[in-house]
């Protein structure tokens, strides 16, 4: 059976998370103790402390991997190979549906010093991951034990702004936020972000509800690099987005179900994640994806070891194992997002089946250098900036 096609026909990876997102959040708040909550802000550990920690850890022969749904081939072949190669038995759990919800559920437990029961977790760079780092909920990694990462990680995936020197995280998969459009309704080639602000698409434009996603595009539209943006830039971007909204150009701010709307023609063009679009293309739907010339967003799902994990050494070994190009190629063939591992494109191009070749040729999976030059990460926000930033853009998306 053609897995990617089947998944493309069913639903995108993100919209499936919908069903579970509502369950978590009552638990999050209720676990808060009354009478204030102690801050847990933690300073980065000294290199010697990190070395001391790792020197006391040893391989236990077990590892528990918590990941998102649809983020591992169904036969779990990469993990099986890991087990064969190392003798470490694994447990794989698809328990993460959404960053905010996962953070909300884990935060009280981690604050209380209880282990989550996972040795590896996967979180997108963004507010929640930033909080995990700031609150000291992640274990600093021992890069001496990550030779494959050192050797094979793409240059853009090393030393990211949100985690200097990959102290706590290494990328698992990445994705690009650009513009998806339905060629049945849009008869021009979209190249500019200004198309999202074009009056002629009134009521047919989808934007994302997430403050980071929508904020980035607002900044691209006013010619600001999000990475270097100031509060004044945010205000300018917000004004641009507010105008877009008030003119009735935006139909809806989507949490995650935008791709169905594009495919059905409810919106003609929308902010979109590359992997979702690629799956639709494989399913034969008239959806195109473009990184606008003004810029697109790159986001990264990262592996990390939560504080208190029982098998950190085994976790490190698995994380590093996934940086072997042939293993990473298996992941990419199934997941179809952007891989942070060098050499995957060549491996896929060398395969005999059509799907692999199509993947190797897709700029959605393997952005070109020119694409990378246009891509910007989410703005990393300080504690003081976060409410200001969120407030500005949520006022627009939650009017």
């Amino acid at each position: 059976m053609n897995n990617p096609l089947l998944r493309g026909l069913t639903q995108s990876r993100y919209s499936r998370r919908d069903a579970l997102r509502f369950a978590g959040y009552s638990a999050a708040g209720l676990a808060l103790a009354a009478c204030g909550v102690q801050g847990q802000k933690a300073a980065a550990p000294s290199p010697s402390a990190v070395a001391d920690f790792w020197s006391t850890q040893k391989k236990n022969g077990r590892v528990v991997f918590a990941n998102w749904p649809e983020y591992m081939p169904e036969d779990q072949a990469p993990l099986k190979q890991f087990q064969q190669a190392t003798g470490i038995s694994y447990e794989y759990k698809e328990v993460i549906q959404e960053n905010a919800e996962f953070f909300g559920k884990s935060e009280p437990q981690l604050r209380a010093g209880q282990p989550l029961g996972y040795d590896i977790i996967v979180m997108t760079n963004g507010l929640q991951l930033g909080k995990m780092i700031q609150l000291g909920y992640l274990t600093a990694l021992d890069h001496k034990q990550l030779p494959n990462f050192a050797a094979n990680a793409g240059a853009s995936y090393k030393n990211p702004a949100y985690d200097a020197n990959n102290t706590y995280t290494i990328p698992y998969q990445a994705g690009v936020t650009g513009i998806a459009y339905n060629t049945k309704y849009v008869d021009e080639d979209i190249t500019s972000i200004q198309s999202l602000f074009d009056k002629k698409y009134e009521g047919k434009v989808g934007m994302m509800a997430d403050a980071q996603e929508v904020g980035n595009f607002g900044m691209f539209a006013v010619g600001v690099d999000p990475d270097k943006s100031t509060q004044a830039d945010w205000e300018k971007a917000a004004a641009k987005l507010k105008e877009q909204r008030d003119q009735g150009i935006v139909r809806k701010y989507y949490a995650q179900d935008y791709i169905d709307a594009v495919a059905k023609g409810d919106v003609w063009l929308s902010q979109a994640w590359s992997g979702d679009v690629f799956q639709r293309q494989l399913a034969g739907e008239p959806v195109k994806f473009v990184v606008p010339q003004e810029g697109g967003t790159i986001w990264i799902d990262n592996m990390a070891i939560p504080k208190g994990a029982a098998n950190p050494v085994d976790a490190l070994m698995l994380m590093d194992f996934l940086y072997k190009p042939e293993i990473a190629a298996e992941l990419t063939a199934y997941i179809q997002y952007v891989t942070p591992v060098n050499g995957v494109q060549q491996i896929l191009a060398g395969k005999s089946d059509e799907d692999s070749k199509a993947l190797a040729e897709s700029s959605l999976i393997f952005p070109t250098e020119a694409d990378y030059a246009k891509l910007r990460p989410y703005r990393t926000l300080t504690n003081a900036e976060e409410p200001v930033y969120n407030g500005l853009f949520q006022t627009i998306t939650q009017g």
């Binding site: 069903a19 509502f22 959040y25 209720l30 808060l32 103790a33 801050g39 847990q40 953070f103 809806k252």
Partner: protein
């Protein structure tokens, strides 16, 4: 010894309520009076500014939620009462089948049902696409991403909770009382107005409570079916809690909503003469 038995038997229920209702509410009340952020911690300041800030910032969404919830409730009442009446008095021995049909959608999850609504009502979907093809509707007509869609979704999702209690109340009306009314020169209309309707009021009361409260607080319909200006207070709570981790603001909004709903219910109960209603219901 034995006279204590009822107390012992009731104990688990009381503990349940205490642990899962009172404690969280108390904790939430406490959190709503703190200031700070997740990273630096929240301190108990007993400052009510969380409330005034939240109300100032989100009054639009709060009022909108109450309006949507109210309008949806009125529509549900208007649609649901005749259905309940029909099942109670006209469905004969097929009653249980119709009740089952009514509950059938509930075997599918709330979110999925709402999403399937989105599918059904797509701009060029089976419904609108067909009508547009016939030229009945203009090409740019759409239902999704409008107030109508959100309220329609609320009505659809909560309608059975309106119908069931009204049905139960109507079912309990002694048919001889209705005959007595006919016998005493009342027309069908006047029998309905003077006898059936008043006797079903406990059901209407329960139905309104069971729909207005969750409809007002619901985030899903607005999120899935709404557009740019349909955000409801439930969505705000969700964002404040999950995205912003601003627990004090989220708690303050929740409490504000709770207070507004309780006051609304109280006024409504007074207007309807709860004492009688509840007495009649207890009969």
């Amino acid at each position: 010894m034995r006279r204590w038995t009822p107390y012992w038997l009731a104990l688990p229920a009381w503990l349940w309520l205490a642990i899962f209702l009172v404690v969280p509410i108390a904790a939430m009340a406490s959190v709503s009076l703190t200031t700070g952020n997740l990273i630096d911690g929240f301190t108990q300041t007993f400052s009510v500014s969380n409330y005034s800030d939240a109300i100032a910032k989100y009054s639009t969404q709060l009022v909108r939620s109450l309006v949507y919830g109210g309008v949806a409730t009125v529509i549900m009442l208007v649609l649901g009462y005749p259905v309940a009446y029909w099942i109670a008095f006209k469905a004969g021995h097929r009653k249980s089948m119709f009740l089952f049909l009514l509950l059938l959608p509930f075997f599918v999850s709330f979110v999925l049902r709402t999403i399937s609504w989105g599918f059904l009502l797509a701009d060029d979907g089976i419904l609108l696409g067909t009508l547009k093809g016939w030229g009945v509707l203009p090409q740019d007509f759409h239902v999704l991403a409008t107030t109508v869609a959100v309220i329609g979704g609320l009505v659809y999702n909560f309608l059975p909770f309106m119908i069931l209690p009204i049905y139960v109340a109507l079912e309990r009306v002694d048919p001889r009382v209705i005959e007595a009314s006919y016998d005493l020169y009342a027309s069908r209309l006047s029998t309905f107005r003077r006898v059936v309707l008043p006797l079903s009021l406990p059901g209407v009361f329960a139905g309104v409570l069971m729909t207005f409260v969750p409809a007002t607080a619901d985030p899903i319909n607005a999120q899935v079916l709404g557009g740019t200006s349909n955000t409801m207070i439930g969505n705000i709570v969700q964002t404040e809690y999950l995205v912003n981790n601003d627990y004090p603001t989220a708690s303050a909004i929740s409490f504000t909503l709770m207070a507004v709903l309780l006051i609304g219910i109280f006024i409504y109960a007074r207007a309807l003469g709860t004492e009688n209603v509840l007495e009649a219901a207890a009969r």
